[in-house]
């Protein structure tokens, strides 16, 4: 999977310019620079990896790209357009889809309804019918029900289709999030640790699925701690450490990069404990100086 996949995208621009381009992105939490001047290019039709030790700023980068948090500085361009000023839902309508490291499923709805809501929300805003993605029925237009059914089938969720997602194990719930995101027909897909909760076998299958998705023209940015999976599917990797990009290149190049090895093996990771990660994912501001409560100027 090292070579580029054929791009199915109609626009010739997509082949030239990356589908997603991030420039000089910085996110500051109080005194703590969680993401510092990060540049990323995510081309269509390929899987790009974003890796780094815990607390390196990967999730924060995702949040800034899709507008869930406002970055301190930097630009996000989608298909050549600057979307930095747009709100989350506007960016989604421009084609950014994502999954979450901490599950954000619709836990009281069934698997089928989770995917269906994704599709219905898309139908509520897309006037012109976005072309059906290549990986579903070869791009042929499907009825809404068929499209939902096909997505569920592709993700191997048929047996649990009518089960409320709240009662599924994490691994399957992550797939539901992926299916839901796909139903919105994004052009760029941000996946935050989608394979955690999968076993070895499932993870291999999952990698193959990602390959198919990319082959159909999707630009995928993958954050994943399953290094084997990352090495297998990504055509290029960016490595973050302490919010800074420390390396970029093919998996082979990155693997032999001294700075990367040092980041992973040397420092013993950043300051992130499991607890801190939980706090971070909750959007809680754990850094003292940024606290704007009593005593602090507003």
């Amino acid at each position: 999977m090292s070579a580029s996949f054929p791009t199915a995208a109609a626009s010739p621009v997509a082949a030239a310019a990356p589908a997603l381009r991030v420039r000089d992105l910085s996110v500051r939490f109080g005194g703590h620079l969680a993401v510092s001047s990060v540049d990323l290019d995510v081309p269509a039709g390929r899987i790009s990896g974003l890796i780094g030790p815990n607390g390196a700023g990967k999730t924060t980068t995702f949040n800034a790209i899709c507008g869930v948090i406002t970055p301190t500085s930097g630009q996000v361009e989608l298909g050549g357009d600057d979307v930095s000023k747009l709100s989350t839902h506007q960016r989604a309508r421009r084609g950014i889809g994502r999954t979450f490291q901490r599950l954000e499923v619709f836990s009281s709805l069934s698997v089928r309804d989770n995917v269906r809501v994704g599709l219905e929300i898309r139908q509520s805003w897309s006037r012109r019918r976005a072309a059906a993605p290549q990986f579903l029925a070869g791009g042929a237009e499907l009825s809404a029900d068929d499209e939902v059914a096909l997505i569920i089938d592709r993700l191997g969720l048929v047996e649990v289709a009518e089960v409320p997602v709240g009662s599924l194990p994490t691994g399957q719930a992550r797939k539901v999030e992926l299916g839901r995101a796909l139903a919105a027909r994004p052009s760029v897909l941000l996946l935050d640790e989608p394979a955690s909760g999968l076993d070895e076998q499932e993870s291999v299958e999952f990698g193959a699925l990602l390959g198919t998705l990319a082959a159909s023209g999707l630009a995928i940015l993958l954050v994943e701690h399953d290094i084997a999976l990352v090495m297998r599917v990504c055509s290029e990797l960016s490595v973050l450490n302490f919010g800074q990009l420390i390396a970029h290149g093919t998996p082979e190049q990155v693997q032999s990069n001294a700075a990367v090895l040092d980041a992973y093996l040397g420092g013993g990771g950043n300051d992130a404990t499991a607890v801190e990660r939980a706090a971070v994912d909750a959007g809680v501001n754990v850094s003292d100086t940024s606290w704007s409560g009593p005593g602090a100027p507003s």
Binding site: P53, N63, V68, I69, T88, H89, A92, I96, G97, F100, R102, L103, E104, V105, F106, S107, S108, L109, R116, V117, G118, E120, I121, Q123, S124, W125, P164, G166, R180, A181, G197, L198, D199, E200, S203, H225, D226, I227, L229, A263, Y264, L265, G267, G268, G269, A274, V275, A278, A279, D281, A282, G283, V284, N285, V286, G293, P294, G295, A296, S298
Partner: protein, 800 residues
């Protein structure tokens, strides 16, 4: 110039009171994450206690102030935190809001029981009203003191939060509880302290205020609206912001009082009440200029219980049945019962309006009766002939007003909608419903509808019309709930951030639901055909509607109907009891009217124990009885005992009926929980179970002892009161137990993200984590033997 100075000083001294109150609110909100709607009620209780201690018992000023402000109020606040608030930490916004609003209503009720309203209670001013001459203006010492206290509070809090360990711990609680715990802090104790501090500050403001104005429970309680208008300036979190807001509001109110001639009018609106409307106006302006709130990716907390949506067929059958049954009952009823039931059905339309907003979308409104009022007044003005077309127009107007009111707040988080609607209710009361030009002589008659030759001019016709409208709207809502839009609302309730990343515009979706809700409430007013007093559109009238709707299990149409009927019954029941027999509850020696006045509050507070409302749980409890032999035995024995007692004439037929209803609704569904030897996660500790059993026994005994047959003359009222008693018993019992029948069925899987935080790291967790990191179990074993058990804290890199 003297006049200006006088009003400036007066304004600054009210600003001082607002600032003190607001800092208490901000302290509790920032440290516990719970916005305390009962903050004003805390101050009110303190002011009354001060009156009791100082005036009634004659304790001198200084010891009395110290006792109230530094002892009683802080203890009260800490106890409230421990007993009520700790249970709702982590609950949804709706539950948090309803619980504190219920607390406010309950405290109001309790205060009126202890200190009946018909007695005037002057509180002597501090310093015996002495004053100094400043720039040629007489300034009472008390006002200067208020300013000084505000400054001391500001300085003290600043020191507390920046210099002391305790203060820093308080800030940490809200930032992250589990983090604080991990670092050796004690979040529970810290939260109690901060509620104690908040209550103390509320007490200072309440006592200061009561020496300036007359001592009135409602006025003092509603002072909370001024307080939060002020606090919103600092986004509810910043003390300097709150102080700034206080100065603005205090001065603005004072200048309006001083310089705007109360006779002045804008169109039909006289400006006499402008000062009372200012907090609401200020709140809206501040909300408008706030930047849109950023979303938060929380992770979805725990699997929510899927609410079963009835099929359309069931809904249609239910609707037809409702109309037929109500028509049949109505035609048999006495005139007075008919009035009661018709009013109840009318209110059911209002509770129905909360089904899409609260039940489906998870938003809350504290102004539903205001929309009823707008509907009623508009109908009276435009639809004198009773034309259905006028109803359409009125409903459209309500929808638009609703959208406009909600828009600024909906860009922000859930709490702001509650604040904005409460402020809107106060605004409308001051500037609209209390205007002679709009509601003359304090009451408005809504013209009865007429459809061509058929005029809805009798109570019976009104009842049938209301039933039909309810059935149609209920069916419409079921249809909506089953539609794409309904699914989207559920999705939005589960995870707003995921909806946004799918391209859903959250604000416009929420505004749409709010407009729908306002329209239904407005329709309830426009089609009521009855006379309303201006009071019935006020904020205190709206609160029980929202509370009962949530308590009843707001997701369901049937729940909304029952809630409405109960609500319709309460005021009427209290007048009947007042006239009939005070001694019914002799064994608790409280006047029944007063008991009824705070029951909705108690029911709401018990919601803190289990947030999904009562109705669904009772159904689940029933299914569990079948699995629990002891529960089956006790249920059967109880039912037989009741029946035998009736046969041998020990208890009357009405007592039998009442006891049976209580038994069936409250006792039986909870028996499995009380009797099952071990519960999942063993939440119902034995003392709770005993307390719950005692409560249920008392409720059954009360049902037997109440002389239903002699005290009440109307059958309809009897039935309704029996239902109220049963619902209350069940509600409180569930609250006492702290576990819901559903938990019998569904042990909650612990959140994977809190492994090691809320429970110790198990071996299984570690192995799963290893898998996530792409290691095999063998590698894991090797790693464990090398690194000890601290696998979770080790960074991925170190494990490779």
């Amino acid at each position: 110039m003297d006049k200006f100075l006088t009003f400036t000083i007066a304004g600054l001294s009210s600003a001082a009171i607002y600032a003190i109150a607001a800092s208490g609110l901000v302290v509790t909100y920032t440290t516990s994450g719970i916005f305390n709607f009962a903050h004003g009620a805390f101050g009110m209780m303190a002011a009354f206690t001060y009156w009791q201690v100082h005036v009634a018992w004659g304790v001198p000023t200084i010891p009395a102030v110290i006792l109230v402000v530094f002892v009683i109020a802080p203890i009260f606040g800490a106890v409230i935190e421990r007993v009520i608030m700790r249970g709702i930490e982590g609950a949804s916004d709706v539950v948090k809001i309803v619980v504190t609003v219920s607390l406010m209503v309950a405290l109001l009720g309790i205060a009126q029981v202890i200190w009946p309203q018909n007695v005037s209670r002057p509180v002597p001013p501090f310093f015996e009203g002495r004053f100094v001459e400043l720039f040629g203006v007489r300034v009472p010492w008390a006002r200067l003191m208020a300013l000084v206290i505000a400054l001391v509070v500001a300085g003290g809090l600043k020191l507390l939060f920046t210099r002391t360990r305790l203060g820093i711990a308080m800030r940490a609680v809200v930032d992250d509880r589990s983090l604080l715990q991990l670092n050796g802090g004690r979040p529970g104790r810290t939260a109690m302290l901060s509620w104690g501090l908040g209550a103390g500050l509320a007490a200072i403001s309440g006592v200061l205020y009561s020496t300036e104005q007359t001592l009135s429970a409602i006025t003092l309680t509603l002072l909370v609206v001024n307080t939060y208008a002020v606090a919103v300036v600092g986004r509810l979190r910043s003390l300097p912001g709150a102080f700034l807001g206080a100065v603005i509001l205090g001065l603005a109110q004072s200048y309006v009082t001083g310089y705007i001639n109360p006779g002045l009018t804008i169109g039909p609106i006289a400006l006499g009440n402008l000062a009372a409307a200012l907090p609401a106006i200020m709140l809206f302006i501040v909300l408008l200029v706030q930047p849109e709130e950023r979303l938060r990716a929380h992770g979805v907390e725990r699997p929510r219980n899927p609410i079963r949506v009835p099929s359309q067929t069931v809904a249609i059958v239910g609707g037809v049945a409702l109309v037929v049954v109500l028509a049949a009952l109505g035609s048999l009823m006495s005139a007075s019962d008919l009035v009661l039931v018709t009013k109840g059905a009318g209110i059911a339309l209002v509770t129905l309006s909360l089904v899409p907003l609260t039940g489906y979308a998870g938003q809350i409104s504290l102004a539903q009766m205001t929309f009823v009022g707008i509907g009623a007044v508009a109908m009276a003005a435009w639809g004198a002939s009773g034309s259905p077309l006028a109803v359409v127009l009125v409903v459209a107007v309500c929808a638009v007003v609703g959208a406009v009111v909600a828009l600024p707040a909906l860009r922000l988080s859930g709490i702001y909608l509650a604040l904005a609607t409460a402020a809107f209710a106060l605004f409308c009361t001051a500037m609209f419903f209390n205007q002679q030009t709009i509601i003359r002589a304090g009451s408005v008659q809504v013209p009865p509808l007429s459809f061509g030759p058929l005029s809805i001019n009798t109570d019976f016709r009104q009842l049938v019309l209301t039933a039909i409208v309810f059935a149609l709207l209920g069916n419409g809502l079921v249809w909506l709930r089953r539609s794409a839009w309904g699914r989207r609302l559920t999705a939005m309730k589960d995870s707003p951030v995921a909806c946004a990343t799918l391209g859903l515009n959250l604000t416009s979706t929420k505004v749409g639901v709010f407009a729908l809700s306002a329209a239904i409430a407005g329709a309830g007013g426009a089609m009521s055909g009855r006379t309303f007093t201006a009071d019935s559109f006020s904020l205190p009238a709206s609160l029980p509607v929202t509370m009962l709707a949530v308590v009843g299990g707001i997701g369901s149409i049937a729940g909304a109907f029952i809630g409405g009927m109960l609500l319709g019954a309460i005021p009427i029941a209290s007048t009947i009891f007042a006239a009939n027999a005070i001694g019914i509850f002799r064994f608790v020696s409280l006047p029944v009217t007063n008991v009824l006045s705070f029951t909705p509050g108690l029911m709401g507070i018990s919601l803190g124990r289990e947030p999904d409302g009562a109705a669904p749980q009772i159904a689940v409890g029933y299914r569990a009885v079948g699995d629990s032999p002891p529960a089956l035995v006790v249920s059967a024995a109880g039912a037989v005992a009741l029946w035998v007692a009736t046969r041998v004439g020990v208890i009357t037929k009405w007592s039998f009926f009442a006891a049976l209803v209580v038994f069936v609704v409250a006792v039986v569904p909870l028996l499995p929980l009380i009797l099952t030897p071990r519960l999942p996660e063993d939440q119902a500790e034995p003392p709770r179970r005993v307390a719950c059993a005692i409560w249920l026994a008392l409720a059954t005994i009360a049902a037997v002892l109440i002389p239903w047959a002699t005290a009440i003359t109307s059958n309809g009222v009897r039935v309704l009161l029996v239902l109220v008693l049963a619902a209350l018993s069940a509600r409180v019992a569930i609250g006492v137990l702290g576990v819901t029948p559903e938990q019998l069925r569904r042990p909650l899987p612990p959140s994977p993200d809190l492994i090691g935080v809320d429970r110790p790291l198990s071996r299984a967790d570690a192995i799963e984590a290893t898998h996530m990191m792409g290691l095999t179990e063998d590698e894991f074993e090797a790693e464990v033997s090398r690194a000890g058990a601290d696998v979770a804290a080790a960074p991925v890199g170190a494990l490779r």
